[in-house]
């Protein structure tokens, strides 16, 4: 009964749908799409993907009713006699039955999914099944095949192949291309596109008057050869590489990684083929005999953030960085969002969670581990620095050799020193008669005279030791701390967590033979080493025993000694005994900072020196009689002596000076990739639900199975992955890159969703053109300059951007390309253009990032005291891509113009239009300075007349000459402002000079101020802030 009911319903629906299909309106972005027969990849798959794959897609764990619709086998499969799709038979297709069902229980997609098919989509599916349900692989997963040349009517229009594809489509749509843009527009467009800078009026005039047939090509070739070409395209790549000058997260400390930025600029300028460009960045370190440059290139993936926040788990953030590398690699080269598969199998694209971690395994073997020093680093000195290093190195070697070859005088002094060591035994360490601890701990005497108390100490303790002495007087007491393996952390103290001790106080009393007891006034304290804020003097003068004392962290594993001396010797004599009390009262919420092993001695010698602590290897040589020592042993003693002798001090001081001079050379240390040695390779496990603490199955490195395997002979490591990405059989890389370049010139990619070539992304507007470009790029030696040139040489690119009412209604977003592209300039170009036209822009290439003026109080990062200090000289006026980029607080005016903070890979900047942007170009001192400088230029270069000056400013900013009415508007404003400034001298001075500095002699302030107002208008024109 129910079945019949559905059948009837379906029949009714089918008729209604047939009517609908017949007058199917085109939709939004697809308004531009070819009408005609239904194509699976273009029309059907997106519907299934959006509405069905979440439950009927690649993810097994989420799959409902065992039905899988992302593969034809699934859609056509027999499920107990029912099939989702029966080609040609909509009536028998369960899919259609379910999507048209009336009751909520049965209808798909389920209402609680929040998804709904509209009648158009249902009609589309119906029509597709009726017409045979032809199944195709998702377009971007099909091999790239060079498409046939399309047939066109207006064969005279195309300049190159690109135009044939564009025109074929336009002719199908009944549209005509626009006229070519005028030459002023054209040179401004192509200059901004290829170099990020506007042409000079002279460049423009030369082009406009050039009658040679290849005039435009000459301009293009010249621009491609400019170093600013590399700067312009580096900017694009740096968004993908998430390049920034800080590490991100809480502290966001500075990171030196600009050598990578400079590598990118140079790579574009020398037109490094994209396959090599890829391999060096992903795996330059793994290339045989890799150069410094190739290893600097691997900083591409060291641009990941690292977290220096206190109390963070380094492994957690190392893993976050590796995942970011995987996701970024997939985004940049494959145009896929693999990141979804971190937590669960991808719902839309064919990457299972297991495959994600197998791909991740390739990237999981580098040495970096979220350390705060960004290890491993590669020093890359500049040529000057290299020379300086060479000089210093030679001098250092000479001095070190000098120390190694002692003069006879030094030999003699060494012998004297050694014998003095023997004589220095004026410290006495008799066997104690009393050894007790407040805590009742057992104190054991060792053979070397040291006292030992094992294990962790109590919260507080005090030792009382009595030494029977036989010396004429006591002038000092020595306390030696001796590290011992039987104590916590192998230190000399009993503190549980760090093996440290804190000697809160030392006191001593002397009992003479006659029974008289005298307190020994200890007034001077000296130690070979004291912990910061725990000086040895605290032990004889202490305001709060629970807070202060002598301690020795972080050198807990070494021997130390302290002496505590009196001002004058206290007479003692035979039969005296010395009682020493050591207090350990330091309080912390973990125990126990008392001594674990120490030795006490006394001396009668007035003002004794701190005992020399000869390091163990030398000390053991000294025990051997001189005659029996080997040559090496002799040299060891001499070397040691040379390192402490007063006679060699001047040489040592010079060595120290050279060493610190060497250290002070600001050599860039760039974080790079380095593969772990074999024995330290990591095992990769699946992170259950993406949580790195929940480790699942162990996996080995592999390419996801939906893609072609690693190319023949490629190694199974990162280098293999890099080669695989640029292998001719790779389905995506060439398409993704061709599309990315296209978007730079047209504002939008042929695939609008540049970031998603997967099944959720939008299909290409011109699929054949995209594949043709991809073939040209891949088979043309991966030359990026060649690709750029091909695009700008097309008639398509050179069309006028003028929008006719017809075009606006037919193709508002210019997806059909019946007109030239016009779009808003990006953040860096807005800055660069203003600086360039005003003559302020520095032409300096590369080097450390710079800090142009920024309002005070912008940087307030927690636990980070870095300051924004405006760069001096021409560095104030460098191109935008050199501006220091702090991730948690990027340069404000860049952010306002939609520049990303580069924390993660940004494939596509979304351009916005806000009043805050207007405030930047109207009022930011950077732009005020540009207006003032441009005004001076106009006055200086534009002749004596007003029109000439305004025309000069106009041509500098907009390239083309002004139209009459434009000149009128500007002149009128100028005259009104001039009247004002002639009456307001101070305002004139400020308007003309506030940022750029005093006016040149002989210039009229009011005129300059009025001209500044004109220039401020010019720098804010829509035409100036767009490229059309």
């Amino acid at each position: 009964m129910a079945v019949r009911f559905y059948r009837m319903m379906r029949l009714g629906t089918a008729i209604a749908l047939a009517v609908l299909v017949a007058r199917l309106p085109a939709r939004a972005d697809e308004k531009t799409k070819d009408t005609g027969s239904i194509q699976f990849a273009r029309d059907i798959r997106p519907i299934l993907s959006k509405h069905c794959f979440a439950c009927h897609g690649p993810d097994e764990t989420q799959r409902k009713g065992k039905l899988r619709l992302d593969l034809s086998e699934g859609a056509f499969a027999d499920h107990d006699g029912r099939k989702a799709v029966v080609p040609g038979k909509p009536g028998e297709s369960e899919l259609l039955e379910r999507i048209t069902a009336d009751d909520d229980e049965t209808r798909m997609p389920p209402s609680k999914s929040g998804k709904k098919l509209d009648p158009e989509q249902i009609a589309m599916l119906q029509k597709w099944i009726e017409s045979g349900a032809k199944w195709e692989t998702h377009w971007s997963f099909k091999p790239i095949v060079r498409p046939a040349k399309p047939e066109i009517i207006h064969a005279e229009w195309p300049e190159n192949e690109i135009d044939r594809f564009v025109l074929a489509r336009l002719e199908r749509e009944g549209l005509r291309p626009s006229a070519r843009a005028d030459r002023y527009t054209l040179i401004r467009r192509v200059s901004l596109d290829l170099t990020g800078l506007p042409p000079t009026p002279a460049d423009a005039d030369a082009f406009v008057t050039d009658t040679r047939p290849d005039a435009f090509e000459r301009v293009v070739d010249r621009l491609l050869a400019c170093p600013s070409y590399g700067e312009r395209f580096a900017r694009v790549w740096l968004d993908l590489a998430r390049y920034a000058d800080t590490k991100g997260y809480e502290k966001d400390l500075t990171r030196t990684i600009w050598p990578y930025r400079d590598w990118v600029i140079a790579a574009f300028n020398r037109d490094l083929p994209f396959d090599q460009f890829t391999i060096e960045q992903l795996a330059g370190d793994l290339l045989p005999n890799s150069t410094v440059e190739q290893r600097i290139a691997t900083a591409f993936h060291r641009n990941t953030m690292s977290n220096d926040e206190g109390g963070t788990d380094d492994e957690e953030f190392r893993i976050a960085a590796v995942k970011d590398r995987v996701d970024t690699t997939a985004q940049v080269w494959l145009g896929l969002t693999m990141g979804c598969a971190k937590c669960h199998t991808h719902k839309y694209d064919p990457v299972s969670q297991r495959e994600y971690y197998r791909f991740y395994a390739f990237f999981n073997q580098t040495e970096d581990s979220d350390r705060s020093d960004d290890h491993p680093l590669l020093p890359s000195p500049t040529r000057d620095q290299e020379q300086q290093l060479g000089r210093l190195g030679t001098e250092l070697k000479r001095l070190r050799d000098e120390l190694k070859r002692p003069t006879p005088e030094i030999r003699e002094a060494a012998a004297k020193w050694e014998s003095s060591l023997g004589q220095g035994a004026n410290w006495t360490s008799p066997k104690p008669s009393v050894m007790e601890a407040e805590s009742k701990a057992t104190l054991t005497l060792r053979d070397d005279g040291s006292i030992f108390i094992p294990g962790v100490g109590p919260e507080a303790d005090a030792y009382r030791i009595t030494l029977p002495i036989d010396i004429p007087a006591v002038s000092a007491i020595r306390v030696e701390s001796l590290p011992d393996a039987g104590l916590p952390k192998g230190g000399a103290g009993r503190s549980r967590d760090d093996g440290n001790f804190v000697l809160s106080r030392i006191r001593a009393t002397l009992k003479r033979a006659d029974g008289e007891v005298i307190e020994i006034p200890l007034t001077r304290a000296e130690a070979d080493f004291s912990q910061e804020q725990f000086p040895v003097a605290d032990a004889i003068k202490n305001s709060d025993l629970t807070k202060h004392g002598w301690a020795i962290a972080p050198r807990v594993g070494q021997r130390h000694a302290a002496i505590f001396a009196t001002d004058r010797p206290i007479s003692a004599g035979r039969g005296s005994s010395l009682t020493i009390e050591l207090d350990h009262r330091y309080r912390l919420n973990y125990p126990g900072f008392s001594f674990g092993r120490f030795r006490l001695s006394a001396t009668a010698e007035p003002s004794p020196k701190l005992p020399a602590i000869v390091p163990d290897p030398v000390a053991s040589v000294l025990k051997i009689p001189d005659a029996e020592r080997s040559n090496d042993q002799k040299q060891a003693v001499l070397d040691y002596f040379a390192s402490i002798a007063p006679e060699t001090k001047s040489v040592r001081d010079r060595i120290a000076a050279i060493e610190s001079e060497t250290k002070a050379i600001p050599i860039a240390q760039t974080p790079i990739f380095r593969e772990l040695p074999k024995e330290r390779r990591r095992t990769t496990q699946i992170h259950v639900r993406g949580n790195f603490l929940e480790k699942g199955e162990v996996v080995t490195a592999a390419i996801p199975s939906a893609f072609p395997p690693l190319p023949e002979g490629a190694s199974e490591d990162r280098l293999g992955v890099a080669r695989w990405l640029v292998d001719p059989r790779n389905l995506l890389t060439a398409r993704v890159m061709a599309n990315r370049f296209w978007a730079q010139f047209f504002g939008t990619g042929l695939v609008k969703t540049q970031e998603d070539f997967g099944s959720q992304g939008l299909p290409p507007s011109h699929p054949e053109l995209l594949d043709w470009l991809a073939c040209e790029f891949r088979d043309g030696g991966w030359s990026m300059k060649r690709l750029c040139k091909m695009i700008v040489m097309s008639a398509t690119y050179q069309q006028s951007a003028r929008v006719t009412p017809e075009l606006r209604s037919r193709d508002r977003f210019n997806r059909l390309l019946a007109r030239g592209p016009r779009f808003r300039l990006e953040a860096e170009m807005v800055r660069d253009e203003a600086l360039a036209v005003s003559g302020l822009l520095s032409a300096k290439l590369c080097g450390p990032s710079v800090m142009p003026p920024q309002p005070p109080g912008i940087w307030q990062t927690t636990y980070n005291n870095d300051k924004w200090v405006t760069s001096p000289g021409e560095d104030k006026h460098r191109r935008g891509l050199y501006t220091f980029l702090k991730r948690t607080s990027p340069y404000p005016s860049m952010t306002t113009f939609d520049a990303p903070s580069r924390e993660v890979c940004t494939v596509r900047r979304i351009s916005t239009n806000t009043p805050l942007q207007a405030l930047v170009t109207l009022n930011d001192p950077v732009y005020v300075e540009a207006s003032q400088a441009l005004a001076r230029r106009a006055v200086c270069e534009g002749g004596a007349g007003l029109e000439g000056r305004i025309e000069r400013a106009f041509r500098l900013t907009l390239t083309r000459p002004p139209a009459g009415r434009e000149l009128e508007q500007l002149s009128a404003l100028y005259r009104r402002r001039l009247t004002y400034y002639q009456a307001h001298v101070d305002a004139a001075e400020a308007m003309a000079c506030s940022e750029v500095g005093a006016a040149p002699a002989g210039t009229d302030r009011a005129e300059l101020a009025a001209m500044t107002a004109i220039c401020n208008v010019l720098l804010n024109l829509d035409e100036f802030l767009s490229r059309g």
Partner: protein
């Protein structure tokens, strides 16, 4: 026909200008171009223009008070007499095993609060003596004792709280709000950020960033020194009349361009310059609290022109004073902004990270100073909004990014008292638009370690806020990277507790 001929005709742009008709205003142009404001790529049509809520809204505005560093719930809201008894005793093993802490190592001791607690208002809400003024408004407030988060380090936890993701790159709550609802006044930014405490939050500006949404939705930081909004002041030497005159010329030239090229984007640009001109007046005006009468200033503890010592200090915390009016001034500004129609006001107050490592991080001494800085201010904000009839349409949210441990942090070499980060259980409060005040929501165990009843996750809080302002937490999404991205996450595991709603 021969297309080449067409090309030859169009040698220079003067050609177009020659054909143009004259003197059309932008409005006439707009109709000529068949559009008013072109929708941005990815932006909702109309940009910041007010939009109808998806579902019936209880609140029109949000004031979110974030205490960066995370205040100690156990010393302010969650009264635990039992914990007092355990003070100084080692923490039981079951609370430590399998747990990760930021700084605690080994076995710490338990720490009861040094402050006295009492019940207040008709609701009998428990508060410590650190919040004497807040006691006056508890009957308008829902104290949520059972908040719980997934993150235990500041930056990730702040990101999770504000953007729903602990990794960077997702839009903040304020961005989602203006994306969904636009804002009521075009003369002011729709999403305003105000800071105090001397530092920005640990996660930096990303906590008010627009993530993958268009940057038009990012928060605009209003500052109390220098330009209140960056570059809002005209250059020196340019008077207002001169600016107007310049803008009129700019507009005329842009209109010529629009006629010649026909790009609707040019018209949007003209519109944005007019908005900027109005903003130059309205921003300084709204930011000037000296226009408020003294009794209102007193209500908040606000002081016009106050400059905090904390500003610009490398470590501002040792210099904190309870009389610091920065936060109070910001609360008053929040009311002024909301009154003018600003959709979302976000306050960040830094310096609540009381680990007990240094003098500025001591529970006994510094926490009361921070409490004094906010106590009168937040109470004044609630009272003032209420007396103006704005509390019903303004949702106020207060809290940190996580809580603090019932254990004392065992710091080496420190005599200060502090607590470590505690993600499992902490207190936040909400008041105003759509919230049922005068209640304490949820129960915690006897030492305040875990929620025992009505646990509220960060996602639940986010869902509750969205629902109250009229955005369906499950259906409100933005397509990015092939997924329908939502504030509450793609999985959508969140609930809105009915008991919290009025």
């Amino acid at each position: 026909m021969n297309l080449q001929t067409e090309y030859l005709r169009a040698i220079t742009r003067r050609h177009f200008f020659g054909q143009c008709s004259t003197g059309l205003g932008a409005i006439a142009l707009a109709s000529l171009l068949g559009t008013t404001a072109r929708s941005q790529d990815g932006a909702r049509p109309g940009g910041m223009l007010p939009k109808k809520p998806m579902i019936p809204a209880k609140a029109k505005h949000v004031i979110y008070l974030h205490m960066a560093g995370s205040p100690s719930q156990l010393d302010m809201f969650d009264y635990k007499p039992a914990l007092q008894k355990f003070t100084g005793k080692p923490c039981p093993k079951e609370f430590l095993e399998g747990k990760r802490f930021a700084f605690i190592r080994g076995v710490p001791n338990m720490l009861g609060t040094p402050f006295k607690f009492a019940q207040h208002g008709q609701s009998g809400t428990w508060l410590s003596e650190t919040l004497p003024q807040f006691a006056r408004v508890v009957d308008d407030v829902a104290v949520i004792k059972t908040m719980s988060t997934d993150e235990f380090n500041h930056a990730p936890a702040q990101l999770y709280m504000h953007t729903g993701a602990s990794q960077l790159g997702s839009p903040s709550l304020g961005s989602w709000t203006t994306y969904g609802l636009g804002t009521e006044t075009q003369d002011l930014p729709g999403f305003v950020v105000l800071g105090s405490g001397g530092k920005t939050p640990d996660a930096g500006k990303s906590v008010w960033g627009s993530g993958f949404l268009p940057s038009v939705y990012q928060g605009v930081q209003c500052r109390t020194t220098g330009d209140p909004v960056l570059y809002v002041s005209d250059p020196r030497g340019l008077d207002r009349a001169g600016r107007r005159d310049s803008l009129d010329t700019l507009r005329a030239l842009n209109e010529l361009q629009a006629e010649a090229i026909g790009d609707p984007e040019t018209l949007t640009r003209i519109e944005q310059y007019e908005l900027a001109f109005r903003m130059q007046v309205s921003v300084p005006e709204v930011m000037d609290i000296s226009r408020e009468p003294q009794y209102i200033l007193d209500l908040y503890g606000a002081r016009p022109g106050f400059r905090s010592q904390a500003e610009g200090a490398d470590d501002p915390r040792p210099g904190y004073s309870g009389k610091d009016a920065s936060f109070a001034n910001n609360c008053l500004l929040a009311r002024r902004l909301v009154e003018k129609g600003v959709r979302f006001v976000q306050l960040y107050d830094w310096g609540w990270d009381h680990h007990g490592i240094s003098p500025g991080e001591d529970i006994t001494h510094t926490l009361p100073i921070k409490c004094e800085q906010i106590d009168r201010a937040v109470s004044g904000l609630i009272i003032d909004l209420k007396q103006r009839g704005l509390l019903d349409e303004t949702l106020i949210v207060w809290g940190g990014e996580f809580g603090r441990t019932p254990m004392q942090q065992n710091n080496a070499n420190s005599s200060f008292v502090g607590r470590d980060h505690h993600p499992f259980c902490f207190t936040m409060w909400m008041a105003g638009g759509g919230i049922k005040g005068g209640q304490t929501y949820g129960e915690t165990d006897e030492i305040g370690y875990y929620p025992t009843k009505d646990k509220m996750d960060v996602r639940d809080l986010q869902a509750t806020i969205l629902q109250l302002i009229g955005l369906d937490p499950w259906k409100f999404s933005y397509s990015y990277q092939g997924l329908d991205q939502r504030l509450i996450g793609v999985e959508g595991n969140a609930k809105v507790p009915p008991a919290l709603l009025a």
